[in-house]
């Protein structure tokens, strides 16, 4: 967290370093962005009048099925995330491209989760009428905040070694609960249908 003596001669990408020194900003900005994202999603879910429905994908019996399968796909890629992260950190033997695997499985997981979240917030909103729904709403918003923080933290080169694994683990754990309280519940209630 001391200032890099080479910093002045280094050629930075167009974005200049944050004013006020990077040390505080590198933790504060991700934390604030995370809080803002989670809060914004929650407030939108609460304020927006839920529409009840949204468009559906052809070939599926219901939006619930579409979302459950997308969420399950995202969860599957999240599992790949954990394994590939362990490879990157040398905890598991892995190929040289495990870093690339980690990046791209993460992107795919995120991008499959986004439509699900959009549907949740648009059609149902933030609800608290039973504990499953309450935790799903709360942690669903929290997940996207935590994920934003993780992405922003990644941009910094020198972080304490434990930070990324902890934040990444948090993101994974939250996604797991969000999946358990929605897709798994859906499959158990309606059966594994398309």
């Amino acid at each position: 967290m001391t200032v890099d003596p080479n910093a002045a001669t280094q050629s930075f990408p167009p974005r200049p370093p944050a004013p006020g020194g990077p040390s505080a900003a590198r933790y504060l900005v991700p934390a604030l962005v995370a809080a803002a994202v989670a809060l914004a999603l929650g407030v939108y879910g609460k304020v927006h009048d839920p529409e009840g429905t949204a468009f559906n994908l052809a070939g599926f019996s219901s939006t619930g099925a579409v979302k459950s399968w997308l969420a399950t796909a995202a969860f599957g890629f999240a599992l790949v995330q954990v394994v590939s992260a362990a490879m990157v950190y040398g905890k598991l033997p892995g190929p040289s491209w495990s870093g690339t695997l980690h990046r791209w499985s993460g992107r795919i997981a995120f991008l499959t989760a986004v439509p699900v979240a959009v549907h949740c917030l648009y059609a149902f909103g933030y609800q608290t009428y039973d504990s499953r729904v309450m935790w799903h709403s709360l942690l669903g918003c929290f997940f996207f905040g935590a994920f934003s923080a993780k992405m922003l933290l990644l941009r910094w080169e020198r972080l304490p070694g434990w930070l990324l694994p902890v934040v990444g683990g948090l993101v994974f754990s939250v996604l797991t609960i969000v999946w358990l309280t929605s897709a798994l519940w859906f499959f158990r209630t309606f059966g594994v249908t398309t």
Binding site: A18, R26, D49, T53, P115, H119, M151, L152, E157, T189
Partner: protein, 223 residues
């Protein structure tokens, strides 16, 4: 402060979210029919809906110069004396309502909704519901079996609303009606061969309910 990949990831997610949202907003209510394929009553004719549909978060009760039909929506609430619940479902100028005290008094009422939001719905046994839609709620009265009940029903958002399940279980004709209130409370009556009794709870999200050992599905009711 070098890597820009994560930023692009976030940006892509944001763009995707905005894209989906705009798709949802522009397609309006029409696809409601596709997502609820198993309730043909929901396949609303596109005539009155699109004028109201695209996200107007404040359904102002002001009468606009053009003739605005009563919006399609569900309402649920309690009677003033708290002894019974009332739910009304409006679709394309028609209404179906359910009055239910959760024990033995119930009635399904049907009728038309006038453009000014007033309605007179009638049910079996001479029961009558008079109500007026104002803003986000319906205020009115129900006359049933000699009783007179005033009620207020606020706009109900899924899963609150009006549900019904009919089936034959072990040679008994089952007819159950439920009102799920915004608080999560449920008021329902189950008729076995016409004999009313308190109804078991339904899962408000799926409509699943177990009656005499058989798993049934209560479906949202629309006119």
């Amino acid at each position: 402060m070098k890597r820009t990949g994560p930023l692009f990831t976030l940006l892509a997610g944001l763009l995707l979210a905005l894209f989906m949202l705009s798709l949802n907003a522009t397609t309006g209510t029409e696809p409601a029919s596709t997502s609820q394929a198993d309730t043909p009553a929901d396949k609303v004719s596109p005539s009155p809906a699109p004028t109201k549909a695209p996200a107007t978060p404040t359904p102002s009760p002001s009468p606009s110069p053009t003739k605005v039909p009563v919006p399609n929506a569900d309402y649920a609430g309690r009677t003033d004396d708290d002894s019974a619940a009332v739910s009304v479902s409006l679709r394309n100028g028609r209404a179906i309502a359910y009055f239910c005290d959760g024990r033995d008094k119930e009635s399904w009422l049907k009728g038309d909704v006038e453009d000014d939001g007033s309605m007179k719905l009638t049910g079996k046994g001479g029961s009558v519901l008079n109500g007026t839609l104002k803003g986000k709620g319906i205020r009115g009265t129900v006359d049933i079996e000699g009783g007179h009940y005033a009620f207020t029903a606020d706009k109900a958002v899924k899963p609150s609303g009006l549900y019904r399940a009919t089936a034959t279980v072990r040679n008994a004709e089952i007819d159950g009606g439920w009102i799920v209130l915004s608080t999560g409370d449920q008021v329902g009556i189950l008729n076995r061969n016409g004999k009313p009794s308190p109804a078991p709870r339904i899962d408000p999200e799926t409509g699943a309910v177990t009656i005499d050992g058989e798993l049934l599905t209560a479906r949202p009711v629309t006119p």
